[in-house]
């Protein structure tokens, strides 16, 4: 009897393993992500047509422009208090969290992190194929993961502040693609620590190409630029300068708009989406941005110097040649250049130049202030009609140089996340804090430097399924 029991036991065990083995098969017709070349395809993602690379609401908060195709007086007077109402009137009492059932940016960027970067990082080592290529893919993924977390933390959390960031609530730093494991929110300090770790991990692989495959792939120029922007945000200006210089050593191109001022090119300013040589990494909601954006009169008056070529209307410029029909604000201007593809969510050489200029302005030793002024003047020269262009005199103080840098940065970076990020960053320092005001129909609305409006609410569809996500304001 015992023998029989043993036999049955052995038989059943064999059957168990036979069943398991029999049902181990590899499906056809799907990318199994098991080779380097298969993983490579993930990085061909089209970053140029993702709605979440549109940063309209950020620009509304810092008063670059009005909400997209919204009649402003109607939005303010409507009995329903929308998000646009809160951004337009700087009303902090509006329950923004409730009005945010979902957030494209949150979903979209984490989608890239989880389904491109983390997949590559988890699979590249085991993937068959060229090991050097595998290392390159991993380095690209590290940089991307660092970059998109950098964007997310600056949208959903406080700006980095060395004294408080260890206690400031941040965002989840997602390093796995296990859907069953909750992504726990960590502090701002931890997020930045992870970002730097990822950047360092990428450089440690020593496999990024100097020049990227195309402007939607990561190369060394972009990697150093990301490092520069992150260090700048952390107030580590010395290292930020090193990183910015490293990036500029690879790519120092700047788009020169002056030929278009004289030629009247296609009627409007022109910039291709992917190929401009000053693009370090291209990401945008669509190639025709920021079509139909209504600039506020305050922005135009403060940042667009006379002769600014963007501010021109047909035949050379970007603005609608008649009164703005959309915003309901008579003296606002409407961007109408479908031919201009702003790099809304990526980085250009302007970002490394401005990082460098700011670091120089802050260091202010030797020729630093003159060098910073030179960078600012280069950009002004390329943006302002040569007929009226006058170079700024060399700055003589950090404050003056910072003033130059802040102004030229703002003028360059409308329709991106960058003005929002910079103002939020500068607001952590008393010297560079800004109180933003806007006037609509005679009423002036004020945005305090420490306003919670600088921190976006986590969307409802995230909070409901992640109990670590408490709002950061």
């Amino acid at each position: 009897m015992k023998k029989i029991t043993y036999l049955i036991a052995i038989g059943v065990t064999i059957l168990f393993s036979a069943c398991n083995k029999f049902t181990e098969i590899t499906p056809k017709g799907v990318n199994l992500l098991s080779t380097v070349d298969q993983l490579d395809l993930l990085l061909n993602y089209n970053y140029g047509a993702q709605t979440f690379f549109k940063f309209d609401d950020l620009g509304v908060i810092v008063n670059d422009h009005y909400p997209y195709t919204v009649n402003v007086p109607v939005a303010i007077s409507s009995p329903t208090k929308t998000l646009n109402y809160a951004y337009l009137t700087y009303d902090e009492s509006v329950d923004r969290a409730t009005l945010t059932p979902s957030d494209d940016r949150y979903a979209g960027m984490y989608n890239i992190i989880d389904n491109i970067d983390n997949v590559i990082l988890s699979k590249a080592d085991a993937a068959s194929g060229n090991k050097a290529k595998a290392a390159q893919l991993k380095a690209e993924a590290y940089i991307q993961r660092a970059y998109f977390h950098y964007l997310l933390v600056n949208i959903f959390a406080k700006a980095y502040n060395a004294t408080t960031s260890a206690n400031d609530g941040g965002i989840p730093y997602v390093m796995d693609n296990d859907i069953s494991k909750q992504n726990t929110k960590v502090t701002v300090a931890e997020v930045y620590k992870d970002i730097l770790a990822d950047i360092n991990a990428a450089f440690a692989l020593n496999s990024l190409p100097d020049v990227n495959v195309n402007n939607m792939r990561v190369g060394k120029g972009f990697a150093y630029a990301v490092q520069a922007r992150v260090l700048l945000s952390m107030g580590d200006y010395a290292n930020a300068l090193i990183a910015a210089n490293a990036s500029l050593a690879i790519n120092s191109n700047i788009q020169d708009l002056r030929p278009e001022a004289t030629l009247g090119f296609a009627g409007f300013v022109v910039r291709a989406p992917l190929t401009p040589p000053d693009n370090l990494f291209y990401a945008a909601s669509d190639v025709a941005g920021p079509l139909f954006m209504s600039f506020t009169p305050e922005f135009v008056a403060t940042y667009f110097e006379p002769g600014n070529l963007f501010n021109n209307t047909y035949p050379a410029g970007a603005m609608y040649p008649a009164a703005n029909p959309l915003a309901g604000i008579p003296n606002s201007e409407l961007w109408f250049a479908q031919t201009f593809s702003t790099n809304m969510g990526g980085l250009c050489t302007s970002d490394t130049y401005f990082a460098k200029a700011e670091c120089l302005a802050r260091r202010a030793t030797g020729t630093d202030l003159a060098d910073a002024t030179a960078i600012v003047n280069t950009f002004r020269q390329y943006r302002i009609n040569p007929a009226v262009y006058q170079p700024l005199p060399d700055a003589t103080s950090t404050a003056q140089a910072m003033g130059y840098v802040m102004k030229v940065t703002q003028a360059e970076n409308y329709a991106t996340y960058k003005n929002f990020f910079d103002i939020k960053r500068w607001n952590t320092e008393t010297a560079y804090q800004q109180t933003i005001t806007r006037t609509i129909n005679g009423v002036t609305y004020t945005l305090k430097p420490n306003s919670p409006l600088y921190i976006f609410p986590f969307p409802q569809n995230a909070i409901a399924y992640n109990n670590s996500l408490t709002q950061n304001y």
Binding site: E24, V30, Q38, N44, N46, Y110, A462
Partner: protein, 1174 residues
């Protein structure tokens, strides 16, 4: 008499299929008969059925034979015994021998001699039937030919016929002294004592699960090409409604809802519709877990076990049957305006458009449309001519009057449609010899599909057999091939009469085909007609039904072999193997002159130069047409090994099976396209076509500039492709055991573990054990019931168990989709479409079933009653996620559901006829009640529209219905609350705050979406009445379906007449004077503001109750008297006439909408049939 006391199965005689030995060797002296039988059984594999009391009358046996055929040995053994024996199949039934000598000695001199023949209900002669003259001791028994003769004293005497396994009947002698008596097998007796689950045959007595078996004799009462439809009204809990078959309600959200079909022991991949309806011996529906859990992960939706026929009698039987069914043409005018109404409706609009002065530029606009090639109706053109002054009012009127006399749909019905004739022929030869039991069955079916040039033909060939190698080995094998051929219209429009204005003429009075345009173009633009470089765009439906055809061909083959190996007493081993192969191809040939191809070449024609020196070029070949082909292959195999053990000890009867099953499904296919194809010349010029150039075209340069060539190109490109090569594998092992004590108490348990490649990176989820347990109590076998004579059979049973289900589309592997390209970089992209999900597991459906089966009042009343509670957990559904996981939702085991129900089956024999000439009437009532409710699911709809549509267009997974809501049935209808038209004729809906709106609702109005019923019927009652008299029988099935709803006749907003048929509700549309209506205004009275899309269609006002009562069919049959049948050499001949789907007896909705079609009533059909058996 209580049956089980007379049928006692000998302890060792439970092996289901005994082997057969030709010869036996016996040497016994004064041995008890019982022991001799035991020895016989051991040597021969024959089973013996007898009562203990019978054996008490046996005398000791003396026999000494060597290698004697068993028939002879039996003759010798029973020669002296007061016991008769009758061999049926491999079972020997023993009965008490009537003492004929005694009869003779008591026979009175004035006796009348009555003689006759006794048969079973299949016409097989019954020997050993005891015939007793009631009230006297006089008795005899029938001989081997079933014949008897017995003297009686008066015509009023009553003869009683009794036979084991048959219902006893009494027959009054009457004038006729030559009786033909038919005995029916009793439901609880031999023939149906076993329930076939596909894995084993379980004695009804031991069964603890809820099952219903329908035998061939019931199925043959009416003709249905698909056996599933023949189960309507026979199986409580099985509901086929609108083409969907459900056993005990829906039990899944995203996984398969298909009922598992098992044929001759193994699940099949082929369609149940392909199973030859004439070749079915029995259909058993397994409903609860105790019955179905042995099928494990595929049993959640219930199991239907089909056993095909095999030869029964020891001779060659030839069967022939044919049924011809004729279905009337459907009503194609249902809820549509007549030609004359349509002319008036259009006229009222064009009069307003061109002549009221309220519309500016109407004439210019039309001129422009004609040039653009937009659709223009003939009535519009007449008014356009009139508005320009090209024709007079009289001419206009006479044109309009002429239009009113046409009737496109009627002409279409007369010229294109046919009465649908379905012919089916079945021919079977079955032989049963000692060693070989084989059947050859040929079935041919031809359907003209109700339209000219169409057909659907099917040839079904089945050869099967059982070969007895020796006493311990039987081999079963079969080859079944089903060849299908179809021919149907491939045209986008020619198969429908609704896409032309009804006042268009199809056929001229002289019989010629009238040419006109479709809504692609208009006949008043003459560019294509006058230009030899372009193809004409005029068309006629009847021509197109010739020129644009799709032919299909399919071959489904099934090969199987299985064995029954007797290893030890009580222990058998059954290996099974089955291979199925499915091949199907279609070829759609649009000839050069077909409209589809003419239009295509015109769309891709362009010209250069200036008038009149144009030069034309074509991107597509202009000689030859287009051939689009598809090819699909499926290979499936199943292998199973199973051990069966049966052992009786003391009063216990134990039965155990254990086995393992491996299974693979593999499918693949390709699609291809030939351009410039000429079938006659067998030439093609696809290689000359520049597909890249085709893909670059955006709008046509010459013809119909409104066309979007990107979608035309996409259609062409989609005809070339690969069907993903897919392999799925399943493995499982299973066991079950049941023990019955003293024929009273049964306990049962089963266990199964399934593995599939589809799931589980995590090993612990890959195989999930599924189990069931049941108990049964045969109350009628209790001592205290021995005096309750009106109870013949009473069983109480209860079961609980868990079955599973799978979603083959849910995948736990992390994979990326391929095939797209980044438009900016031109590089190929891979995208992760689903997260890695290692926790996927089987869906679980736990069923509790409590039921009873009973036979009362001497078999007059029988039936069953079941209550069940079916709880589905771990059902596949979308689970919402923090989007930082990379997805905002994914498919996982995340929903639960509850089905509660009650099932009743009652059969009452009002008059139980014993002879052909007597009147019989029986009634079968089947009641099924099901209450379905989702108990938990994530609400996916984010807007009211998404909820009512039940679709997530634009969401991550648009195929997952977003209407699933906890607390409501799976197939729920949710609707906007329509509050009619306001004073301006604008439709308005209720908002969440109780106010009305004419605009689309926003996400905050979710609570304004109302539940408006379920699509599946809650209640189903079927009543079958069977009358018989003098060989005639009448079988009427009446059905009630209730508790379901449907959307029907929801109005659209018609801003202007449309090119095609127009709905009759427009006649009652809103006008300033007709304000008591729900229908928005038409033409000049359209609502002033845009009506939100889909809001009318999904309004509660247009949800109709789906309850109805119909006579499903009535069959009048006649069985020729045996004597007549004999004259043509047949043993039985039956002719029958069947009426299907006459006008509904009652519809709950007031609009005459047939809930089974959503519109016009199901067409009535008539079946004429004949079956002959030799």
């Amino acid at each position: 008499m209580r049956l089980t006391t007379i049928i006692l199965f000998a302890a060792f005689m439970q092996v289901s299929a005994a082997g057969l030995a030709q010869n036996v060797t016996l040497s016994k002296h004064n041995e008890a008969l019982k022991n001799v039988l035991k020895e016989l059984r051991r040597q021969s594999g024959y089973d013996f059925v007898y009562s203990e009391s019978l054996l008490e009358k046996a005398i000791p046996v003396n026999i000494d034979v060597k290698e004697m055929p068993i028939e002879d040995a039996l003759k010798r053994i029973f020669g002296d015994q007061p016991i008769n024996y009758n061999v049926q199949d491999k079972t020997v039934v023993l009965t008490l021998k009537a003492a004929t000598i005694q009869i003779k000695s008591t026979a009175a001199t004035d006796d009348i001699e009555v003689h006759g023949k006794v048969m079973d209900d299949k016409g097989v002669a019954l020997s050993g039937v005891t015939v007793t003259v009631k009230g006297t001791g006089r008795k005899t028994s029938t001989n081997a030919a079933g014949e008897f003769s017995i003297p009686v004293q008066a015509n009023s005497d009553i003869l009683v016929f009794t036979h084991i396994g048959m219902e006893s009947i009494e027959v009054r002698v009457g004038e006729n002294k030559d009786l033909t008596v038919t005995l029916k097998s009793t439901t609880t007796l031999l023939n149906e004592v076993k329930v076939n689950t596909g894995f084993q045959s379980i004695k009804k007595e031991q069964m603890t699960g809820a099952t219903v078996t329908v035998s061939s004799s019931e199925l043959e009462q009416r003709y249905q090409p698909n056996v599933l439809n023949n189960l309507e009204g026979r199986v409580p809990g099985l509901v086929t409604y609108n083409g969907k078959t459900e056993i005990r309600g829906v039990s899944t959200l995203q996984a398969s809802t298909a009922v598992l079909i098992v044929v001759d022991g193994l699940p099949i991949e082929g369609s149940i519709a392909d199973i030859n309806p004439y070749d079915i011996e029995s259909v058993t529906t397994l409903k609860d877990a105790a019955a179905a859990a042995i099928y494990g992960a595929r049993a959640s939706n219930g199991v239907i076990v089909i056993v095909t026929k095999k030869a029964k009698e020891k001779r060659t039987v030839v069967e022939f049957a044919t049924d011809v069914s004729v279905t009337a043409k459907p009503n194609i005018d249902f809820h549509l305006v007549s030609p004359s109404q349509q002319v008036d409706l259009e006229s009222s609009y064009w009069n307003y458009d061109y002549l009221s002065g309220k519309v500016t530029g109407a004439v210019d606009n039309t001129t422009n449309q004609i040039n653009l090639g937009s659709a223009i109706t003939p009535v519009q053109y007449a008014w356009y001519q009139y508005a320009q002054g090209n024709i007079s009012q009289t001419q206009l009127q006479s044109q309009l009057n002429a239009f009113k006399k046409n009737n496109f749909r009627q002409q279409y019905k007369d010229n294109a449609m046919l009465d649908d004739v379905l012919q089916q022929y079945n021919f079977a030869i079955r032989t049963n010899t000692d060693r070989l039991n084989s059947s050859i069955v040929v079935n041919y079916k031809n359907d003209n599909t109700g339209i000219i040039n169409g057909y659907n033909k099917q040839l079904n060939l089945f050869y099967k057999g059982t070969y007895t190698v020796n006493k311990w080995l039987d081999i079963n094998y079969g080859i079944n091939t089903v060849i299908g051929m179809t021919n149907a219209s491939n045209s986008d429009f020619a198969g429908s009469p609704y896409n032309e204005p009804d006042y268009q003429q199809l056929v001229a009075p002289n019989g010629s085909h009238v040419l006109y345009t479709t809504n692609d173009y208009n006949q008043y633009n003459t560019l294509t007609e006058n230009n030899p470089n372009l193809q004409s765009l005029l068309v006629n439906h009847l021509d197109e039904l010739n020129l644009d055809r799709i032919k299909g061909r399919s071959t489904n083959s099934r090969y199987y072999v299985n064995m029954n190996v007797k290893l030890l007493p009580g222990l058998t081993f059954n290996p099974y193997f089955q291979y199925e192969n499915q091949q199907s191809t279609t070829s759609a040939y649009s000839e050069q002159n077909s409209y589809a191809y003419r239009l295509l070449t015109d769309l891709y024609s362009s010209r250069t130069g200036t008038d009149p020196n144009y030069s034309y070029s074509d991107l597509l070949p202009t000689t030859g047409g287009m051939l689009a082909t598809t090819q699909r292959t499926g290979d499936y195999w199943t292998a199973r090994g199973q051990l069966n053990y049966n052992h009786d000890f003391g009063k216990n009867s134990l039965s155990v099976i254990a086995g393992t099953e491996f299974r693979q499904q593999h499918s693949s296919g390709t699609d291809g396209l030939l351009l410039g194809y000429d079938q006659q010349l067998q030439s093609q010029s696809t290689a000359t076509v520049d597909f890249n150039a085709l893909s670059q075209q955006t709008i046509p340069s010459l013809v119909a500039p409104g066309y979007q060539l990107s979608s035309v190109y996409q259609n062409l490109a989609n005809k070339i492709g690969v069907i993903r090569d897919t392999t799925n594998r399943y493995a499982s092992f299973y066991a079950n055991a049941s023990n019955t004590y003293d024929h009273k108490y049964t306990i049962f348990g089963s266990l199964r573990k399934d593995y599939a490649n589809l799931f589980g990176l995590d090993a612990k989820f890959r195989g999930r054990p599924l189990w069931s347990a049941g108990a049964g109590w045969n109350v009628h076998n209790e001592e205290f019931m021995s005096d309750v004579h009106w109870v013949n059979f009473l069983k109480l049973r209860a079961s609980y168990g868990v079955t599973g289900n799978i979603n083959p589309f849910a995948n736990s592997y992390l994979t990326a989709t391929t095939g797209t390209t980044n438009p900016l970089t031109g590089l190929p992209i891979a995208t992760i479409a689903n997260p890695a999900n290692p926790y996927l597991t089987w869906e679980r459906t736990a069923t509790l079933n409590i039921g009873t089966d009973f036979t009362l009042i001497a078999g007059r009343l029988s039936g069953s009653l079941d209550w069940y509670r079916k709880k589905g957990t771990d059902l596949f559904a979308n689970k919402l996620l923090d989007p930082s996981e990379g997805f905002s939702n994914y498919t996982v085991n995340n929903a639960s559901m509850l089905n509660n129900g009650l099932e009743l089956s009652l059969n009452y024999k009002w008059f139980n006829p014993q002879v052909r000439n007597a009147f019989g009437w029986s009634t079968l009532v089947i009641v099924s009640h099901n209450n379905n409710k989702i108990t938990s699911v994530d609400q996916l709809a984010t807007s009211p529209l998404a909820k009512v549509e039940g679709s997530n267009a634009g969401q991550e997974n648009p195929s997952i219905p977003s209407s699933y809501t906890a607390g409501y049935p799976v197939n729920s209808l949710f609707s906007f609350q329509y509050k009619g038209l306001n004073a301006e004729g604008q439709p308005q809906w209720l908002k969440a705050d109780g106010t009305l709106t004419t605009l689309a609702l926003s996400a905050s109005d979710m609570s304004a979406v109302a539940y408006s019923g379920q699509l599946d019927p809650k209640n189903n009652i079927a009543v079958t009445n069977i009358f018989q008299y003098k060989g005639f029988n009448l079988n009427i099935l009446m059905v009630y379906y209730g508790g379901q709803s449907l959307r029907a006749d929801a109005p659209d907003v018609y801003e202007a007449p449309e090119f095609g048929a127009m709905p009759s509700y427009l006649l009652n549309s809103w006008t300033p004077t007709n304000t008591h209506t729900n229908i928005p205004g038409y033409g000049q009275y359209v609502p002033p503001a845009a009506v939100p899309s889909y809001y009318l269609g999904y309004s509660d006002a247009f949800v109709r109750a789906g309850d109805f009562i119909k006579i499903r069919n009535a069959v009048l049959g006649y069985n020729l008297p045996l004597a007549t049948a004999r004259k043509i050499g047949a043993s039985s001949v039956n002719v029958h006439f069947q009426l299907n789907n006459p006008k509904a007896l009652w519809l709950k909705n007031n609009d005459g909408i047939d809930p089974e079609t959503g519109g016009a009533p199901l067409p009535t059909s008539y079946v004429f049939g004949l079956s002959v058996r030799y």
